[in-house]
């Protein structure tokens, strides 16, 4: 087991807990905590040398973050 893999899955577990129970329970906190397991899975992919998947995952994560930010902005605007 390479160190990347160990750090990666530690981050995934940590991030899952953090996303499951965010501390101030609002949308933005949860969205930011969501980056933790995403970073963990990046490290796991790195440990398996799946760099092409890693590159695509970065791009898709960025796009899904845009999507969420758009929805959250509109949701918050109503208040």
């Amino acid at each position: 087991m390479s160190p990347e893999f160990i750090i990666g899955f530690g981050l995934i577990i940590l991030g899952t807990v953090a996303t499951a129970w965010p501390s101030p329970k609002d949308y933005i906190t949860r969205l930011i905590n969501l980056e933790l397991p995403a970073f963990g899975i990046l490290l796991v992919m790195l440990s398996f040398d799946e760099t092409l998947a890693l590159l695509t995952f970065i791009a898709v994560t960025a796009i899904s973050t845009f999507l969420f930010v758009r929805v959250i902005e509109k949701k918050e605007a109503r208040k």
Binding site: F48, D49, T51, L52, L55
Partner: protein
Amino acid sequence: MIIRRISGILSNFTNLSRVYAILVIIVVLAGIAGIPSLDYKGDRLYPKTIDRNSPLDPYDRGGIPFESTGILAEYPGNSPYLGYITAYLTPLSLALASATPHMGTTIVAHPGGIIDEILYATRGLDTVVETTILFVGFAVAAYLFRRREDE
């Protein structure tokens, strides 16, 4: 009595995703005990060979352009040109590969290489379905977006 209660829960459709989550948790909990007995045979198909010194690192699978290279597909007989795409490098990729040893991923993401072989040739039907899913997902979003603009 209990049936009425269950159907009462199921009839509220915000509860249904909750019921589904419970089912998944039960199955995974039951499955955890069996994990140590699973064998790992994952590298029977398309195993990785890592050559850290190659300019194509981590994707160097050998082979000369326009010649085939040995890769392990499920049914080699079904793809007469198996391995040709893996071995192929565009002239630009060749130039990059000889110029610097650090561009392996970029070179493989360029046309040719093992991932293209799997995605386009041996498992091409997967990619057809995948692009269709993308098409449908965006069609829904674009349709809803345009419809509300008309209103």
